[in-house]
Chain length 161, copies 2
Amino acid sequence: MPAPTTFIQGELKRTIDDRFRVSLPPEMAQAVTDESGSTIVTKERFGCLSLWSAAEWQARQERGVDVIRSKIEAGAMDQRWGEVQRLGRLLSTRSKTVQLANRSRLLIPEGFREFLGVPAGGEIMLIGAVICVELWNPATWLEALTQDMPEFGSLFKELVV
Amino acid sequence: MPAPTTFIQGELKRTIDDRFRVSLPPEMAQAVTDESGSTIVTKERFGCLSLWSAAEWQARQERGVDVIRSKIEAGAMDQRWGEVQRLGRLLSTRSKTVQLANRSRLLIPEGFREFLGVPAGGEIMLIGAVICVELWNPATWLEALTQDMPEFGSLFKELVV
DNA sequence: TTGAATGTGGGTTTTGAGCCCAATACGATG
DNA sequence: CATCGTATTGGGCTCAAAACCCACATTCAA
């Protein structure tokens, strides 16, 4: 997998327009778009979506998917179709490939809107999470913050040291 | 068995028309149709039907049947004729061969409609589950998701490793 | 044979995504 | 302080696809 090209950072508020479009600041847009112009949207947890450069994401995920594909071809899955089916189902809901209009505006796809839980015209938080960009429902963001913030110190130490 | 030609993916909402027809997006339709134009519909669990390329389905099923046949021949089933018979019954009610109109429109067969539990004019979720396409009653889908999603990580690991 | 119910094949309408452009806000710079 | 460039937002237009609707064919039963 190619190492992330940039360290995505920043926190800002944006509004979703009536057509469920969000404009991303140029740095973020650029960071989550690959050469072919594709971006991956994934459901993270209720109230939070994340954006990834398609190339990077696929590198990560396709490695796994390729393994499964070759196992299927080799017949190694014959006893486990049910599980393959179940995993496939989850893969399908979890992520979707999109293109940003004008290389900067995201249309939140059907199915991800309810998950984010922000109505048309509502506000969201845009968070740079180093390796991806996250879209948060402001209420969920606040919760997560108050809950995670106390751990910041120890987490920082843990990852740095 | 022929390996699946494509990795069926995607999640979308569709409505059933007043005659219990659903139009499938081209990729999905193509993926569940074999050269002779046949598709298999199966009852998966209440609130869920699935679609398979007929050729693949039959290949898979025959393999299972072969196992049973050889067990029968070996005398391993002598005490279990009742069960074999019951299995046979289930196999025949469980699935049905259909043709998609215009290579894309599915008529949900009589007997499968109640099983899906969506009325004419209602909505369904179409899910790509890698090796098949599933039709879900939206309510059931939501339940299944909230239940299965947490297992995603471990399931993924299990199948990939 | 006829009529109702069901399947089938178009047509039309409507919705929404993609694309583009205009108006505004904002910031930087001379 | 004026001006220019860039970012953001809103809206209009177009096209494709989904939903809806109707007309015809087929089947089955009375």
